[in-house]
């Protein structure tokens, strides 16, 4: 919404103390964007694997570097967060867990589940 008003717009995001439900909503949008970009990277990785050994080798080298690990770690964290919070949204869509206390509880549960699943995945990947 463009502001064509001579009068000032009152401050909003700059001053609002966002509750945990709002912070997680922003995180859901953010991880969604990360996953979209991640999907493009996944397609590139698959294309690399499909176009011969040397392409696969260089892709493998890139993904095994510390930076590659960082990207993959970010991708898995985003995937698990977005997945868990997506399940939370499914409950909401069916009309469940919409009172404030439940929404705050499920927020914490989503965060814990994200950490547990990410750590579990990386323990397996690195062992």
């Amino acid at each position: 919404m463009s502001w064509n008003d001579k009068r000032p717009m009152s401050p909003h995001l700059q001053i609002y103390k966002l509750p945990i439900t709002a912070k997680l909503s922003i995180l859901h949008r953010g991880t969604g964007a990360v996953l979209t970009i991640g999907l493009i990277l996944l397609a590139i990785a698959l294309a690399g694997a499909a176009s011969g050994e040397s392409a696969w080798e260089s892709m493998h080298r890139l993904l095994s570097s510390w930076f590659g690990y960082l990207v993959l770690f970010g991708f898995t964290t985003s995937l698990y967060y977005h997945f868990c919070n997506g399940v939370r949204h499914l409950f909401w869509d069916s009309g469940m867990g919409l009172d404030l206390k439940s929404a705050e509880k499920s927020a914490i549960m989503v965060l814990i589940a994200t950490v547990v699943l990410t750590v579990f995945t990386w323990v397996i990947a690195l062992s």
Partner: protein, 260 residues
């Protein structure tokens, strides 16, 4: 679209500071948003040192004390001073609420007082809610019945039917919820916002109303209803402890159910 920054004419400046009266020992600092349409300057934050030993317990008490003792030009809406009229809604300590029911003691540190977020400011804490009221009117918040009322009595409801309206009819249209909602900030030209939608659901839920289908048709729109992303700022902000997020989810559910 989401515009995270304030427009150039809305960027805040540092305003005046008013010290407490001499001898005051129990001082609380109030940082209050000021905008004067007559001088053409940007809004600013004035700092008032208030003697709490000589002030009522609520934020509204402090604002009215500032107005009577320090600066009479501070502008705000207020009426009932007991949380039923919805006039003194504003952003206090970073969250929307009613100044009359917000206890000063519940706020740690300085008390920041801003008008309701992302609205055109008329003066100081008074924001222009024209769009908000128009959206409320657009959900046609009145009984629509196909049958005439009985000539000798009210339209009766069962106890259970009446219970469906609890948590909905209590809305006082203070705009705390709608102006706390980021979706509403970015799309208030098309998204109806939590208050209007809660009131739409109040009439959808009314056993005496015959226009449920028509009301749902009107809301079946990517913006009017579906810009709600269950951020839940509305429910967090509501000074009457209502749950607009749940009311909106209930409308979305009805939309699916009626498709069968």
């Amino acid at each position: 679209m989401a515009e995270f920054k304030l427009p150039a004419n809305s960027v805040l400046k540092i305003g005046k500071t008013y010290p407490a009266p001499e001898g005051a020992r129990n001082i609380k600092i109030f940082k209050v948003y000021r905008y004067d349409p007559s001088n053409g300057e940007n809004p600013s934050i004035d700092t008032f040192h208030v003697d709490m030993d000589n002030c009522g317990p609520m934020v509204l008490d402090a604002l009215l004390k500032i107005k009577s003792d320090t600066d009479a030009s501070v502008s705000l809406r207020r009426s009932c001073r007991e949380g039923i009229c919805g006039s003194c809604s504003m952003n206090i300590d970073g969250q929307n609420t009613l100044a009359c029911t917000k206890a000063i003691d519940d706020i740690k540190g300085d008390v920041t007082v801003y008008p309701l977020p992302h609205q055109p400011v008329v003066k100081d804490l008074v924001s222009d809610l024209t769009n908000f009221y128009a959206q409320y009117a657009s959900v046609e918040p009145w009984l629509k019945s196909d049958t005439p009322a009985p000539p000798d009595q009210e339209r009766l409801q069962s106890v259970d039917d009446r219970k469906q309206l609890d948590g909905l009819y209590e809305c006082i249209m203070c705009a705390c919820c709608s102006t706390s909602c980021p979706s509403y900030w970015w799309n208030s030209d098309r998204f109806l916002g939590p208050a209007a939608l809660l009131n739409a659901y109040r009439w959808i839920s009314d056993s005496r109303d015959d226009a449920t289908g028509e009301r749902l048709d009107e809301l079946e729109d990517p913006f009017k209803l579906y810009r709600c992303h269950t951020i839940m700022n509305c429910t967090n902000a509501c000074p009457k402890d209502l749950n607009p997020a749940k009311a909106i989810a209930s409308i979305k559910k009805l939309m699916v159910e009626r498709k069968g």
